[in-house]
Subunit: 196 residues, 2 copies
Amino acid sequence: MSPARAAAASSPGPVEVSAAQGRIIAAALDLFARHGVGGTSLQMIADEIGVTKAAVYHQYSTKDAIILAAAEAELSRLEAVIDAAEAERAPRLARDALLSGIVALAVARRRTVATILSDPVIGAFFAEDDRFRRVMHRLRRMLVGDEVGPEARVRTAMLIAAISGAVTHPFVAGLDDEALRAQLLRLGRRFLGLPA
Amino acid sequence: MSPARAAAASSPGPVEVSAAQGRIIAAALDLFARHGVGGTSLQMIADEIGVTKAAVYHQYSTKDAIILAAAEAELSRLEAVIDAAEAERAPRLARDALLSGIVALAVARRRTVATILSDPVIGAFFAEDDRFRRVMHRLRRMLVGDEVGPEARVRTAMLIAAISGAVTHPFVAGLDDEALRAQLLRLGRRFLGLPA
DNA sequence: GTCTATAGTGCGATAGAC
DNA sequence: GTCTATCGCACTATAGAC
């Protein structure tokens, strides 16, 4: 099987969603962040949108399908940031564009990003998802280049965890988005050894 | 029981637990890490220990009480690390001891630490828990001193998120505890501007 | 695309025996 | 400290009307 074919089999690029599906995904992400994936029922999602459970089932035939759709929707946002960064010619510029993009994404979606990356149920889905693995691989490659040792692994894991985890931390609850974004970018650059 | 009520009822100081209660807490922490708090039922906890639900209820009369006991047990480990670090005379030594202790704790309890700090259900309990707030305050004070600006807040949040989040990241799944600990400590020191 | 109605399962929680 | 047995409820999921 060709790479293109394998990719199409596991997850076909940008996933199209109807308006009704978009409402379900948005409601699900919000509720996942507030109650966890396991603590969110289809009834809660239906109530949030203002329809019945059966209407939700008409769009996604299982709860797992909703979890997957919500996780992939959030993953797509990260993919778009990576795509934009890779369009930069110089590796140095690409890396800085990636960092800026990740920080902006994490701040703009404070409540959802951390949930997607830390919820054990979504983690189980992503652990076997080729698309997720490809995204993480591209991320690491752009951040630390071709290094593969323990130092590079830990450094990348710490940077991603620091950005995604810090935005929901109680310490920064009172900060407005712009102040948070600026500090995250500055400290992230310093962590990577980039010019501030 | 609402989180607010449970937090108000929580006692300061070390909480004594019987052998049976200890088994429940250990099983609960393990299951919370694997399925999330909302995705863990009392039946799952009972099965893990090898008793019935009623036996679990005899120790903790609600599921919330189990969640609270498990979260506080993990919080106590962090408190012990802070206590030990504060015993150091020089602030510089205290800060380095704290960092080493946090890193060692996060690595030793890879699976549970991230869950406790990131699960939204536990977050709701901690948000109104004075003991948790005191621990976080002591943590920040030792790490960044008396600074209170956005930079100090974001820096502390990033460090805690980086350490607790990195230990469960897929990038470091293949690393043994000692290698992970050494790298986390080195990069953590560098992030704080301490001598390596 | 949304509804009502319902099946079958597992949930948190309780009562009372040993 | 653990058991059996049970209650009432919420859950995922399905069938069929509009």
